[in-house]
């Protein structure tokens, strides 16, 4: 879009004052008359079967109102995770919940419940599960097979299988190289043998990437009650429209029976994508107790178990380089630790990302996704591509070269490169650069807005408000198309009772792309209706009319109608003009929402049917300088810059916050955050912030920079793409490369690069004792 007034400009999002005064209400901030509290009883073992539950003593306690077990929840089909279980697959998995008048009573009741558990074999390290005779995470197998053709739903598409590798295949493991037995999936393109044959240098390297929890600052608390057969649920979720059908499925009811309220969410990072399955616990407890409100606060420790984590992966790469540095062949093998549920697809995205970042002339990708008795994973901001850092995808656009050039200059790369690697006292500096790619835009969602006689434009927003501001940003597009003063735009969000259009999941850098397209369509639909109304009343054809100064008027300075007059006329005209008739192709949720708003003014309602040629990807280039203290092993981040190639920038301040914040998430993966398990008992040791510490304000440089090239994507009308994920891989990769630049890559081959790892290599001249061990 040319000559924009709002797009590309900073503004104050309309929710900010509520946030800054403490009035913004997150899920745990709601109260209701007679509200009960729920507490969870979770599995103390990594894998077991519930033989018997004796809750009689608990239920006899004064103040205890009810108990919910897996038997009270609908069956969601084979292999699908439910909120409660009779066969826990990880220590910390919820078995039952108790509701009581207060939390202390509920907790005391939980203590009084006798659960008889039968221990089952378990495994926390994916390689142990693949060893000959190694334990399986489930009684039905140890790996997810490739998706079955025609499978239904993300969770039903893969079978659980058993695959063991041979002792000979494990021989490599003794030398710290990832063994490569039978994979479950693979693809290849080009002539790999020729590629390696022509290479001037061939490397064979193994890299281990550890897992860590998402840990949004707000845990997945929820409060629910029932009224007149309807479930009202206050939940912490990243998405609104897309969470509604999930809640309905988890509770075994129709989507029309659910009202979901989620106006503010304290972050998610992929862990609350379509909501959290645990939110059905207070809902089902409430149902059992005749609709009385039930609040379930999730503690930080609960969150650690049920709150999702990134998949950890071990990768082995054989890579051939031509003399000029061009990659002639890339042979990648990934062992993914899928955790206890899934199936996860990060290993696939990692392969795809490797092909995009490195552009090898020939490439083979092989992978196996192993089930372990560790908490469930979900996509964590930049799933897969971060760990990689497919088949050749045709991209809608990529301006990586422009971003690299821009960053190289701003970062004074050459100047820094000149002194990197030189030791001064105990300190060595290093610089690194990395490209973080991520698919960044879905298509085909709906838009809904009304221009009403009060002269205001009401834009219904069905995505979540998790801190990215895209929930508001998408309305800027409507304001732009309709020449509407921003003060007169009301964004309606966070409550399905108010009617929201079918919107994309607020995950995976999808929203800005998907919903700017949808709102461009919706706003243009509204614009067309305004032009038609004017032409009907004032003569001429709709094309003779344009919009400005809150009027639809003849081009130039001719006669016309004010928006208020046009809104009144739309209501008189009815039909499509005021939303009594809506397009056939919109989603049923949008139709329901439109029905709520029919007759209120001129309605803009449309599905995004704009064509798109290619796959949409965003990129962020990270530039980092680190200092390694070779005596203490400490790595300090000295400076960082992230430069985005994310299409047209909608909201610059938010974009830069996304780049800087996302980079920090990746940098923490490179430097400090990891899960640690006791492999003997299958229990997690890193249960809280304290043990797997996120970056603090002192771990980043006093200023941190970000920028974007701002070149529009030609395959979407607004030109914008998403940005949530790409900076994560950029930050992670840039910091790892910078450490390698300072002290050499042989020092780690594992992330995070903690002080002990650095010292072990530098002082002992050999890497850690068990270089392939996961979760240490």
């Amino acid at each position: 879009m040319a000559d924009t007034k709002y797009i590309g400009q900073n503004y104050t999002p309309p929710d900010l004052v509520a946030k800054v005064t403490g009035r913004a209400r997150y899920a745990e901030d709601f109260r209701a008359e007679g509200m009960l509290f729920a507490k969870l009883l979770t599995s103390p073992m990594p894998h077991c079967r519930v033989r018997n539950i004796d809750a009689s003593a608990a239920l006899a306690m004064p103040g205890v109102k009810g108990i919910l077990t897996a038997d009270d929840l609908p069956d969601l089909g084979p292999n699908v995770e439910r909120a409660l279980t009779n066969e826990p697959f990880y220590a910390g998995e919820p078995i039952l919940a108790v509701a009581a008048v207060d939390e202390l009573t509920a907790a005391e009741a939980v203590e009084k419940i006798n659960v008889d558990l039968e221990p089952l074999p378990f495994v926390v390290d994916p390689l142990d599960a693949l060893r000959p005779g190694g334990p399986d995470a489930r009684t039905t197998g140890n790996v997810w097979g490739a998706p079955m053709p025609g499978g239904v739903g993300p969770n039903a598409a893969s079978p659980v299988k058993t695959i063991k590798w041979t002792g000979e295949q494990f021989a490599d493991a003794d030398e710290g190289r990832l063994p490569m037995g039978e994979p479950t999936e693979q693809w290849a393109y080009g002539d790999l043998d020729a590629g390696f044959g022509n290479a001037a240098l061939v490397l064979d390297e193994t890299m281990v990437v550890q897992s860590t929890g998402h840990h949004p600052m707000e845990t997945r608390s929820a409060m629910a009650y029932w009224q007149n057969g309807k479930l009202y649920i206050h939940a912490s979720t990243q998405s609104v429209a897309q969470t509604l059908p999930n809640v309905a499925r988890w509770c075994g009811i129709m989507p029309q029976q659910v009202v979901l309220i989620s106006e503010y969410t304290g972050g998610g990072f992929g862990s609350k994508g379509g909501g959290a399955v645990s939110t059905c616990i207070p809902a089902m407890l409430s149902k059992k107790l005749n609709g009385v409100p039930v609040m379930m606060r999730i503690t930080r420790e609960d969150e650690n178990y049920i709150g999702r984590a990134r998949t950890n992966m071990s990768g082995r790469t054989r890579i051939g380089f031509a003399k000029d540095g061009r990659i002639t062949a890339l042979d990648l093998f990934i062992v993914q630790d899928n955790g206890s549920y899934g199936p996860m697809g990060d290993h696939r995205s990692a392969g795809l990302a490797a092909s995009i970042i490195y552009q090898p002339q020939a490439m083979r990708w092989r992978a196996i996704s192993v089930l372990t008795n560790t908490p469930p994973r979900s996509q964590q901001r930049s799933p897969g591509p971060m760990q990689a850092n497919g088949q050749r995808a045709k991209l809608t656009s990529a301006f990586i070269v422009e971003a690299l050039d821009k960053g190289k200059q701003a970062f004074r790369w050459d100047e820094r490169k000149a002194y990197s690697g030189q030791r001064r006292g105990a300190k060595v500096r290093g610089v690194g650069v990395a490209v973080g790619p991520h698919g960044s835009g879905s298509i085909g969602f709906d838009s809904l807005m009304t221009l009403r006689p009060d002269g205001k434009l009401y834009v219904q927003s069905g995505v979540g408000n998790l801190g990215t501001h895209s929930v508001m940003d998408l309305a800027r597009v409507a304001a732009e198309v309709l020449a509407m003063p921003w003060e007169k735009v009301e964004v309606v969000w966070g409550d399905t009772g108010k009617g929201v259009p079918w919107s994309c999941l607020s995950v995976g850098s999808q929203t800005t792309h998907a919903m700017t397209r949808a709102n461009f369509a919706g706003a243009n639909d509204l614009k067309r209706k305004l032009q038609e109304i004017a032409a009907k009343d004032l003569g001429g054809s709709p094309d003779d009319y344009e919009l400005s100064n809150e009027r639809v008027h003849r081009k130039g300075a001719g006669g016309g109608l004010t928006y208020t007059q046009a809104a009144k006329r739309a209501i008189e005209l009815g039909g499509k003009y005021d939303g009594h008739e809506v397009p056939e192709d919109i989603n049923v949720m949008t139709k329901g929402a439109a029905a709520k708003h029919a007759g209120l003014g001129v309605m803009g309602v449309a599905k995004d049917n704009y064509p798109r040629n290619g796959t949409t990807y965003s990129f962020v280039i990270g530039f980092a300088e680190v200092e390694v203290d070779v005596e203490t092993g400490k790595v300090t981040l000295i400076d960082y810059l992230g430069v985005g190639d994310v299409g047209t920038v909608i909201n610059p301040r938010s974009l830069l916050a996304q780049i800087k914040g996302g980079s920090c998430l990746g940098i923490a993966h490179a430097l400090q955050q990891k899960w640690v398990f006791d492999p003997k008992y299958g229990l997690m040791l890193s249960r809280r912030f304290h043990y797997s510490k996120p970056l603090t304000i002192l771990d980043i440089p006093a200023t941190m920079n970000a920028d974007a090239v701002g070149l529009p994507d030609p395959e979407t009308p607004v030109g914008a793409r998403g940005v949530g994920e790409p900076p994560v891989g950029a930050g992670y990769g840039a910091v790892l490369n910078a450490i390698a630049d300072a002290v050499g890559v042989d020092v780690f081959r594992r992330a995070p690069v903690t002080s002990d790892l650095v010292l072990m290599s530098l002082e002992n001249k050999k890497r850690m004792h068990e270089p392939l061990r996961a979760h240490v």
Partner: protein
């Protein structure tokens, strides 16, 4: 940041929990949980134990409130006084989301027993603005769009306001140190610092 277990706060949570464990009354974890003030289910006061009905000075108002002896200030604020602006991120002194000012000093309210703040001045995020007039630090956050999901914002803001009372003209580095007891998971710490540096400037101008 002042240590919640510092001697001047009287009954400390650690000492308190130890005592409770020794007496075998409740599990240690129970100290973190919400207990309603109801007659039937509440513990009856043993002779010599603390009074239940106390008066607190919160945001300049005297509030009568029924408080269990093991109750933390975060729970009293959120569940008894309706002040849900104070957030709980970890409930164990790891994140700072629950930071409030007690006699102008930032404290993790999840780790302060409510009984220990009797006679002291508690200020929460709700008490910063003067009617519709935002506090200069709040105004700075709005002007710089300082946070993302903002779940950490109330705690961060109280920590910053408290720090700026002791050092109204800090460098970026000093300010970072002053608020380093707070975590943000959205993690644009750079913008948070920029917002608070502006807040410091607004405060200097307004005083």
């Amino acid at each position: 940041m002042d240590q919640p277990d510092s001697p001047r706060s009287g009954v400390t949570r650690r000492a308190f929990i130890k005592g409770v464990i020794a007496s075998g009354a409740v599990a240690s974890s129970a100290a973190y949980l919400f207990r309603a003030g109801g007659e039937i289910f509440g513990q009856t006061s043993a002779p010599g134990s603390v009074e239940r009905l106390i008066t607190l000075n919160v945001n300049g108002q005297m509030r009568r409130v029924d408080v269990m002896k093991q109750e933390t200030l975060a729970m009293t604020l959120r569940y008894k006084l309706g002040l849900t602006g104070t957030k709980i991120g970890c409930d164990r002194a790891e994140c700072g989301a629950c930071t409030v000012l007690i006699d102008d000093v930032p404290h993790y309210s999840c780790s302060v027993l409510t009984h220990t703040v009797r006679g002291r001045k508690v200020q929460t995020i709700e008490g910063l603005a003067n009617g519709d007039q935002l506090h200069p630090v709040q105004q700075a956050i709005v002007d710089e769009q300082g946070f993302q999901c903002a779940f950490c914002m109330p705690g961060f803001t109280m920590a910053a306001v408290g720090f700026l009372k002791t050092n109204p003209n800090p460098t970026r580095q000093q300010l970072a140190h002053g608020i380093s007891g707070n975590l943000c998971r959205c993690q644009d710490y750079d913008k948070i610092l920029t917002a608070f540096m502006r807040g410091a400037e607004y405060m200097r101008r307004s005083s």
